[in-house]
């Protein structure tokens, strides 16, 4: 398996175990989520090239101050860039405009080239900021943050339950894969493999449905009546206001400098 897809085989542990404490963790989770949203809106809708470039520089600064694991982050960025690389390479040739250079007789247009660079800059800036400011939260903290930001309760509860059982199911999955391996199962290009994976998913679903029934009974025993009480110690401080204000002024600056006029 290629290295850049490696995360697909690692178990789900949130970021708790691996993320080192950094300056970013001193900010309130709400401020980090809001700042990321403002940043992404500002960058994504811009019509110029310099603003996404500035955004990418800011994203690098966020990544540095979050002291992200360099190799893991790089791998994820490359994995994301794999999605766009084909499209970005095709754009100069499919967009009409002034010819910049020729490859095998196909003209690469200047407009297409600029557009392609814009997409690459925006995509990388947003993902890097997301990984730095939001990805460094614990997944359950993200749920609590969304609840504090008035996201509907049911959605937050669903997120918290999903996150809570990701690790459990992941371990169940690994156990079953190990059992298959012990019976000499090796994934290949054949019907047997695909059928076995289908049965694996089916069995995983049966077991988790039954587990959820047991959990629900246990929760009812403890007086669950459809509401989770969220306890957290989030405290809004002056530096959170400053972070948000600076992000807002970035947005205002972008609007004022005409970055949204095509």
């Amino acid at each position: 398996m290629p290295q850049f897809l490696e995360h697909s085989m690692t178990s789900w542990r949130g970021q708790q175990v691996e993320h080192k404490q950094s300056i970013v963790d001193q900010f309130d989770p709400r401020a980090r989520v809001l700042a990321t949203v403002i940043f992404a809106l500002t960058v994504v809708f811009s019509k110029t090239l310099w603003l996404p470039f500035l955004g990418l520089l800011m994203a690098f600064a966020f990544a540095l101050s979050a002291s992200l694991n360099f190799r893991r982050t790089l791998r994820r960025m490359i994995a994301m860039d794999m999605f766009i690389v084909v499209m970005v390479l095709m754009l100069p040739f499919t967009m009409s405009g002034d010819a910049l250079f020729h490859v095998f007789g196909f003209a690469a247009s200047k407009q297409g080239f600029i557009h392609a660079i814009g997409i690459a800059l925006k995509a990388n800036a947003v993902v890097l900021t997301l990984l730095s400011l939001v990805g460094t939260l614990e997944a359950s903290t993200l749920g609590h943050t969304l609840a504090r930001l008035k996201v509907p309760e049911k959605l937050v509860h669903l997120l918290l339950f999903t996150v809570r059982y990701l690790d459990v199911i992941s371990r169940e999955y690994k156990r079953m894969r190990k059992a298959m391996k012990a019976r000499a199962f090796v994934p290949k290009n054949n019907l047997h493999t695909w059928r076995s994976f289908g049965y694996l998913v089916g069995m995983l679903l049966v077991r988790s449905l039954e587990r959820s029934e047991r959990i629900f009974d246990a929760m009812k025993c403890r007086g669950y009546c459809g509401k989770l009480y969220l306890f957290d110690t989030m405290q809004w401080q002056q530096r959170d206001t400053i972070l948000l204000l600076s992000m807002a002024s970035f947005a205002v600056f972008a609007i004022a400098s005409g970055a949204y006029v095509a």
């Binding site: 398996m1 085989m9 992404a40 049911k154 999955y173 290949k188 493999t193 998913v201």
Partner: protein
Amino acid sequence: MHIVDGALSDSVVIGGAVLAVAGIAYGLKRMDLDRIPQIGMLSATFFIASLIHVPVGPSSLHLILNGLIGLALGWTAFPALFIALLLQAAFFGYGGLIVLGVNTVNIALPAVLMGLLLRQLIVNSPPKRAAILGGIAGAGSIALTAVMVGVSLALSGDAFIPAAKLALLSHIPVLVVEALVTAATVYLLVRVKPDFFSHAER
């Protein structure tokens, strides 16, 4: 599968976000509070299942299983898939933040449609026929997703039409594998836990 930020035109991004909010709101409305443990557990399972890499030809691809999700969760597939995509974007860097709406609609709407069309038929079928219907759900949802990804790209400008065609073509192997895997899963579920689909949210 995941479209990244910056690729689509503003109107497509906003339209996708509006549709996604509507779908999520309706899905949440259809979901009882005391079913949250069950649905959370199932959506965690689908999250893990989507990390399984299946060898196809010289390379490998990961499962999406949105047809199966639709059969199991119905309208709740909207919030469940939104959460999965949010987690993937925030912690794995897959896709983007502002395009989350478009990505959610592209994956969840086909899931919901397959659930509405085929679930009742599967409940009333013997295992073999249920497996075939499951295969149709798996293939159909991927085909619809591919078309919707293509349409989101094509609506964003004529220059994207070749990329949209490429996206359509690249979904063909996914479609075949998803159909086979979903058929096998449905077959096993109908045999092992016959009330799985009737049990799930309508």
